[in-house]
Symmetry: C3
Subunit: 357 residues, 3 copies
Amino acid sequence: MSHDAPAGRRTGGEGGNVLTAAAVAAAVHGELRGDPAATVSRVAPLDRAGPGDLTFLASAKYAGLLEARADGVGVLLVTSELADRAGIAAARVVVANPHEAMLSLLGALYPGPRHVAGVHPTAVIGRGARLGEDVAIGPYVVIGEGAAVGAGTRLEAHVVVGAGTVVGERCHLFPGVTLYPGTVLGDRVRVHAGARLGSDGFGYVFRNGIHDKIPHVGRCVVEDDVEIGANTTIDRGSIDDTRIGAGTKIDNLVQVGHNVRIGRLCLLMAQVGVAGSVRVEDGCILAGQAGISGHLTIGKGARVAAQGGVFGDIPAGETWSGYPARPHREALRAQAAMFRLPALMRGLERLLGGKGT
Amino acid sequence: MSHDAPAGRRTGGEGGNVLTAAAVAAAVHGELRGDPAATVSRVAPLDRAGPGDLTFLASAKYAGLLEARADGVGVLLVTSELADRAGIAAARVVVANPHEAMLSLLGALYPGPRHVAGVHPTAVIGRGARLGEDVAIGPYVVIGEGAAVGAGTRLEAHVVVGAGTVVGERCHLFPGVTLYPGTVLGDRVRVHAGARLGSDGFGYVFRNGIHDKIPHVGRCVVEDDVEIGANTTIDRGSIDDTRIGAGTKIDNLVQVGHNVRIGRLCLLMAQVGVAGSVRVEDGCILAGQAGISGHLTIGKGARVAAQGGVFGDIPAGETWSGYPARPHREALRAQAAMFRLPALMRGLERLLGGKGT
Amino acid sequence: MSHDAPAGRRTGGEGGNVLTAAAVAAAVHGELRGDPAATVSRVAPLDRAGPGDLTFLASAKYAGLLEARADGVGVLLVTSELADRAGIAAARVVVANPHEAMLSLLGALYPGPRHVAGVHPTAVIGRGARLGEDVAIGPYVVIGEGAAVGAGTRLEAHVVVGAGTVVGERCHLFPGVTLYPGTVLGDRVRVHAGARLGSDGFGYVFRNGIHDKIPHVGRCVVEDDVEIGANTTIDRGSIDDTRIGAGTKIDNLVQVGHNVRIGRLCLLMAQVGVAGSVRVEDGCILAGQAGISGHLTIGKGARVAAQGGVFGDIPAGETWSGYPARPHREALRAQAAMFRLPALMRGLERLLGGKGT
């Protein structure tokens, strides 16, 4: 059989919907130049766009790519400064921010998979479990006793919903997600493939020569409109709950420890680690691979830079970075000094030879 | 349907068991004050405890929370200093360490899910596989040819036990765990959802213009009483085995490379990475996101702080931190000096202007 | 039932094939001393090898281990300097590099599991999906509508192949792998257990008081001969594709963000994180836990040391390390200076007392 993995085929496949240049211009409040009846059915970056593709030009340095498309492109979103650059396009739509305009059109071009309600015959549904209207339950899903799944929610293949777990309405759980018993999801929560919510926290007491396990009886509560990335892990609480606030977005391979409270509208980027009992207040941003030690508070709207290692509370609104993390400007100055130090070191040691410690 | 995700409901759900105040006092060797017949059926933190809840007060700064519970609480574990603080409780039990007493009661209140032996009809059992007495095999489990599963072991939904794999007695594998062929688990091993044991190590030789894969024929051996966190990965050995010592506990999203030997009673916290052929001796603690480079030895009882980057052997009993990791006090001094450096830098450069390198 | 988890049994189980000492010598172009008809059926490290085992001795410091094997070993691969050291071996084969010779024989001794073509009756195959000749589809595999799986490819238990996905020939997907719709794999791609390819990238625009999700309509394209580790996550592109170049090898728990381009023949070690829109050119090596910030370019053949935190482009061929990453020698000098600084600090502050800032 044939396939086209290494080939330079255009991205995104077919979009499902077709938009005219006139519809594009109306949707983005842009100025239409060219054929209002020209159509596009998908998006592509400028270096690979063709007729029928929606693309954009926002910087003069990429203008040559437009000229290079011998067949031309479908509809070009473009700034007024670049609107007259050479190159074939069935239509141009002049807007202030072509990239943002492009993103705003994706939903119209790519409506996403249709929600097909139904319960696959292979799904195993525990006693007393309740399924809301129009749920879509995929193959080999396992739903525990007494669990509740809200209306319009989709559980893809191999999802496991533990006993007594509550999943809200219009959620989407991708393949292989595990919700341990004692997990609660709000409405419109998206959980990507392989994420594990509600696993036991890492809690032991060393006694009688062993690490004796502390039972974990708290819950893992995820509020409305949260999105959780692939293979991310969020532990349940020991006595109290672990809680993820409404509208917060969590990337792939993130670890959230037991009893952690994440506020509303936070962003946790990939591979971030949040140790037990940390409180992250509303609107915080933790960049990739950052780590927060246990029992700390990250104040409202604070930010931690990538790989930051946080060992103390961060006041609201501040940006910290480095290891150990400090206010970003202080960290930058210390790093700059450190990299200038070797050049000074020889003279320094000579100077201090008779006066040092 | 309704659900209660964002609500402030009490934690932990029903506990399953009911304890009287007299039983609580007896179990923790505490002094009972109040109604010995008062009952509790679950635990809650003080700010959300109500009648019927077991809770604790260990610090004067939280005493106001007790007073604020208008309905009072069920049984309060409390120190002698705080035993007379205002607030309603059906009974108080005076102990030296209320938090520890609370943890010690969790097992009695929350007995955990009952072990229900049986093999789900959808489980696929390979030829020659042997199942011990009273195993509990969940839906869609796949057990390879010639594998052995010990008595009383529980395999939850979608667990895959590779061909020839050996799983000991009274183990608990949570949903979606994969044991590659050549994995061996001792007794009472707990493996959380999505952990992958025995995958090929990352070993290639660059020859003939490609990264040529080195076959991995060693095993992944996990000794008794080990617990392994969600989505953690432990590679098999190339020629020798990878081995995790008895009683060691490993958190979520940890990576253990090929041929690694982890000793007994170690703690590896979340997102730790241990590169190939490292030897971690007994009783070591590797804190979150720490990384150990290949072929090193971490001596008995040594500790590595969070995010530590270890590029050399660590002697027994020492605590190292930082990047590159050094003995903790040395690392702290160097970091402190680094952050004081910018303030000194201008004067320093003036001083060295005519004398530097 | 019995099992042998904590026992010191030899590694690797039976090898399946038997080789004579003469065949070993011929395969590695070595000089045979001893019985040409002696046979081996598996490999073992020298400290646990016995009769019938192939083992090696490459360093004088391990020669005592050979002497200690009272029953002797089967065939010993050994350097000419060490060929006469005491100890029993049915045969010795003298080669320049015994360890490399050992690795080169693994394929002959351990042929790997036989490919058994067939589709398990529990596999769920979507409408219009095409399966090539001799595919091996395991239990509870789910293949989406219109997907294509190439000849000779093996999908182990619980693999999910999304709608419209293309998998090449002779690929091997281990248990629990998820390919989101829009993923394309070339030929001979190996994907280890629990890896997730093609999940949505972490892209939001903050507007109207929420983090508004940017649709992801690009693909995740993996070229020929790539190997991907357990529980690794690779996001699809937003508009453009995410692409992994031919012959690149990716370890466990790695995160690759949306729109990233990884070149050919790269090595990404465990827990590496590559943020969105990064370009990693051919032949790069990113060591464990390294992180690359968004939109950067890592030049051809460049290397990043373990835990390196990269915040700027790296020129071709360079090795960078540290946080923030700098050319390796510069980083080493700065670190060395930092650790010498505390000893100088007191004298320094005295000196600058009247002259500093």
